[in-house]
């Protein structure tokens, strides 16, 4: 028993160390284009995990994460270009702005559940998109905001990459803590059975609003990171297509596992780059991927792998027990 536990911890720790070494050293041996691709994966992993706090743990299907992501990106962009705020402040303000918008949007959304909740989130994301798209004087409209004054230190992709890596690591650690806290358990209880949760004296709506705000906060961080990485922002960031990307990332990796969106992000961005290099019909393949996922891999890649591992472990245990006379 204890031995099993030790090997499990060892293997998780082992993989963490391996990936840490890989992530820390990869700019030394990979081309810049790859580093920037992995940077995108990191940011998407954070956005996906932030969305999954609601989706997988809270059971709240949101079609509007991109709206809050864009609030984060535009906050940093606008504070840097229009107000010339110092860089750290402009970055720190992004999650706060996203959380504030999340509080307002969420306040309305959690009044409804299931499909109505989903539609409300979509509607609010479209409102945010429209505001960004139409308000030329402030957001640059469909021209977006370009040549954002990012500090010189972050001009090189390697430096941006390390910046993203540090921020994403801290945020993922915080999200991991949240998921494994009493708040996380409560959230899952609400997902499983809101009525029952209500009658163990949990104020369900308040918790749903709290997770909406938390999710918005981290989506804001992701948006801000992307703004720093790209040096420009566009209304596309708030578009529902971006929200769909995030949802697919979660589904692809598996919504019931913390690592789901992280793995999902890596795989999704990788295949989207490979496919879009060879064909313009990327969306066609995206459709096929979604169909396969929903029909055959409801628990995503990580869920699928976890199932197989559990089966293998069971089999070897049965075998072990048989060997003992």
């Amino acid at each position: 028993m204890t031995k099993n536990f030790a090997t499990k911890v060892f293997s998780i720790g082992f993989w963490l160390i391996v990936s840490a070494i890989f992530l820390l050293t990869l700019p030394l041996f990979l081309q810049a284009s790859w580093v920037s691709l992995i940077n995108e994966m990191l940011i998407m992993a954070l956005a996906g995990t932030a969305l999954n706090l609601m989706l997988g743990y809270g059971g709240m299907v949101s079609f509007g994460p991109a709206g809050l992501y864009a609030v984060g990106a535009y906050t940093t962009a606008i504070l840097l270009t229009r107000y010339g705020l110092p860089f750290p402040l402009a970055v720190l303000a992004a999650p706060l702005a996203a959380a504030a918008v999340g509080l307002i949007v969420g306040w309305f959304c959690v009044r409804r559940s299931a499909v109505y909740f989903a539609l409300l989130t979509l509607a609010f994301a479209q409102i945010i998109w429209t505001v960004i798209f139409e308000w030329y004087d402030f957001t640059g409209g469909d021209n977006g905001i370009v040549s954002i004054p990012i500090p010189e230190l972050l001009y090189s992709i390697t430096h941006v990459y390390y910046f993203s890596l540090a921020v994403v690591t801290v945020c993922l650690f915080l999200l991991w803590k949240i998921v494994h806290s009493p708040f996380g358990t409560t959230l899952q209880a609400i997902r499983e059975n809101p009525m029952r949760a209500e009658f163990i004296a949990v104020h369900v709506r308040r918790y749903q609003l709290a997770v909406f705000v938390l999710s918005s906060f981290f989506l804001g961080v992701a948006g801000s990171l992307f703004c720093v990485f790209a040096g420009s922002v566009f209304p596309d960031y708030a578009h529902w297509v971006k929200s769909t990307d995030m949802l697919v990332v979660c589904l692809l990796g598996g919504i019931y596992h913390f690592a789901g969106p992280i793995v999902g992000s890596g795989v999704y961005i990788l295949i989207s780059k490979i496919i879009s290099k060879n064909t313009t019909y990327w969306m066609f393949f995206l459709g096929i991927i979604v169909v396969i996922l929903v029909l055959y891999m409801r628990n995503g890649l990580v869920g699928f792998a976890a199932e197989k591992l559990a089966q293998m472990k069971n089999r070897s245990e049965v075998k072990k027990n048989k060997d003992v006379p």
Partner: protein
């Protein structure tokens, strides 16, 4: 009196599901509510716990009017409940099912950065032991057998330290053996924890076996209330309810 209702009424369209029901429950009593299907028993429960708002009337718990309070607030005041249709958290482990209720009772649900795994272990395990599920604590709630899930539900309800417990058909779908065990369990828990219990039940052996008082509902009305032997000897009750079961 720990709990009472005054002329509680609820209609759905033209149907009066609960019709001017007034009842009073003393502390420590074991009260059952019986009546044919559609008599309004579950609707009455939903009115008591804030899941439905009454058209008229009042619900008073420990001297406070709780009629229009939302469910979580009523639960917080010390009313626990199980539901007729299974109501657990299927993807959480048996342990977590109870643990989350313990968190709620200890007002720890909002803690964002503590590690849940090792919190509230002792209390959670005590409750699991008292409902006989300690050895299954690592299984997912949804994978338990039906009878075990019913007991788990009682465990969840107990974890919030209720002084009044409402059980909606606690032995529904159980084998006679499981029914016997669950009945014993309920009696034991009520005694140990000094609970007041109201339960809806169709199994007459359970009803007459453990109730101090039996209340009979028919077409939304509370038509009779009395001790088990009085109910047995009442002609009207015999006719509309118990009579149906006689060959």
């Amino acid at each position: 009196m720990i709990f009472e209702t005054q002329k509680l009424t609820k209609s759905f369209g033209g149907l009066t599901a609960v019709d001017e029901v007034s009842l009073g429950i003393q502390k420590g009593e074991l009260v059952s509510i019986i009546g044919p299907n559609g008599a309004g028993k579950t609707t009455l429960f939903n009115l008591l716990t804030g899941h439905l708002l009454p058209d008229n009337g009042k619900v008073i718990f420990q001297g406070r009017d709780v009629t229009r309070l939302p469910p979580y607030a009523i639960s917080r005041m010390g009313i626990g409940r199980s539901f007729q249709r299974l109501n657990i958290f299927p993807r959480l482990t048996t342990f977590e099912n109870v643990q989350v209720a313990v968190f709620s009772a200890q007002r720890k649900c909002h803690r964002l950065f503590s590690r849940a795994q090792n919190m509230a272990q002792e209390e959670t395990e005590t409750i699991l032991e008292s409902v006989g599920l300690l050895d299954k604590k690592k299984l997912k709630g949804g994978l338990l057998a039906h009878g075990d899930q019913k007991r788990l539900e009682i465990g969840i309800a107990l974890a919030v330290h209720p002084s009044l417990l409402l059980l909606d058909e606690p032995t529904q779908g159980m084998s006679p053996r499981e029914t016997g065990q669950t009945t014993e369990l309920i009696q034991k828990l009520v005694k140990q924890r000094g609970l007041t219990l109201i339960f809806v039940e169709h199994d007459m052996s359970v009803v007459f076996g453990i109730s101090d008082h039996i209340k009979v509902m028919h077409q939304g009305r509370m038509i009779f209330s009395g001790k088990p032997e009085e109910v047995k000897n009442n002609d009207e009750v015999q006719r509309i309810y118990l009579g149906e079961k006689k060959p």
